[in-house]
């Protein structure tokens, strides 16, 4: 026992074999009750794994080169994605958060694994892990340091916990020395992790 009111049991993801059996049992039951058609879950998974961070990267790169589009993306990311011909997914509201020299956003879902899957693909395993979900809100600078990202004490650090219907996408800072790059070359620098806010975009290759 300790002298405060929360326990210190190690945080784990639990028994995955049991969770798998439970998921299969639920699927069979939902099909039997007519809530789902056979194959509907597989089709959903197929859609999910067909999504990649390349779509999010296109949004970011376009915003980097077109200030007007960036304003549109910040105002309504769902509409901005549709304008670029991208699938923003089923969430009614997608919000883009701009990182600057003075403001840094990082995204977490402390309750489960809410994530802009349509634009970023399936979330990485660490995003769903209990250690990330608990520490991102209480010690974000410590978590970011483990990702190799140092955020100065003078930077306004904002941890966004997506607990409801909104999906959040970070617009990372455009790296220096990229003025000559094409939009496609810029998109290649926009990594998945930079759009979660746990990394900066990749550095441009030296010419």
């Amino acid at each position: 026992m300790n002298d405060h009111d929360h326990d210190h049991t190690p945080i784990t993801n639990g028994d995955e074999r049991r969770a798998g059996a439970r998921a299969r049992a639920l699927e069979e039951l939902l099909v039997e009750k007519g809530v789902l058609r056979p194959g509907e879950i597989r089709a959903g998974i197929d859609w999910l794994v067909s999504r990649t961070p390349a779509d999010g990267a296109r949004l970011v790169a376009h915003a980097w080169v077109d200030p007007e589009f960036k304003q549109q993306l910040l105002a309504d990311a769902r509409a901005a994605a549709l304008e670029l011909g991208l699938d923003p997914g089923p969430s009614p509201v997608v919000v883009a958060l701009e990182n600057t020299e003075t403001v840094h956003h990082m995204v977490v879902c402390t309750l489960c694994s809410c994530y802009p899957r349509a634009l970023l693909g399936p979330p990485p395993a660490w995003y769903k892990s209990l250690p990330y979900r608990s520490r991102a809100v209480s010690d974000p600078r410590g978590v970011l340091a483990e990702f190799g990202l140092a955020i100065g004490d003078d930077v306004d650090l904002r941890v966004v916990d997506s607990t409801a219907d909104i999906r959040y996408l970070v617009i990372p800072r455009r790296p220096a020395g990229t003025d000559e790059l094409s939009e496609d070359q810029l998109a290649a620098l926009v990594t998945r992790d930079s759009m979660i806010g746990v990394a900066q975009p990749a550095a441009p290759a030296l010419a």
């Binding site: 209480s138 004490d153 941890v159 916990d161 607990t163």
Partner: protein, 93 residues
């Protein structure tokens, strides 16, 4: 919409035995309204096969790290931004 941007609010400290989307680390804590998203179906009834109506206003509420946890943490402070449904918000205490 009951609350305005900039207004301080306290999250209800009540327990809730079923599905809900208000994380326990903000319950009873005071933050400020940063934005009003829209109205959404209520996940607390929707999770059990109901339509989740009426739709409830959803706010973006920010909390200072130091108001959430008493233990200090290394580095500068930060704020945590959380989406909270209106029926979990109360006038700031």
């Amino acid at each position: 919409m009951t609350y305005r941007v900039g207004e301080p609010v306290t999250v209800a400290a009540r327990a809730h035995s079923g599905h809900h989307r208000t994380p326990s680390y903000i319950k009873g804590k005071t933050g400020r309204i940063e934005g009003v998203h829209a109205r959404f179906r209520n996940p607390e009834t929707r999770a059990y096969g109901d339509q989740g109506l009426p739709e409830m206003p959803l706010y973006l509420v920010s909390f200072a790290r130091s108001d959430l946890w008493p233990e200090p943490c290394a580095g500068g402070g930060h704020r945590v931004y959380v989406d909270v449904f209106e029926h979990w918000l109360e006038e700031a205490k």
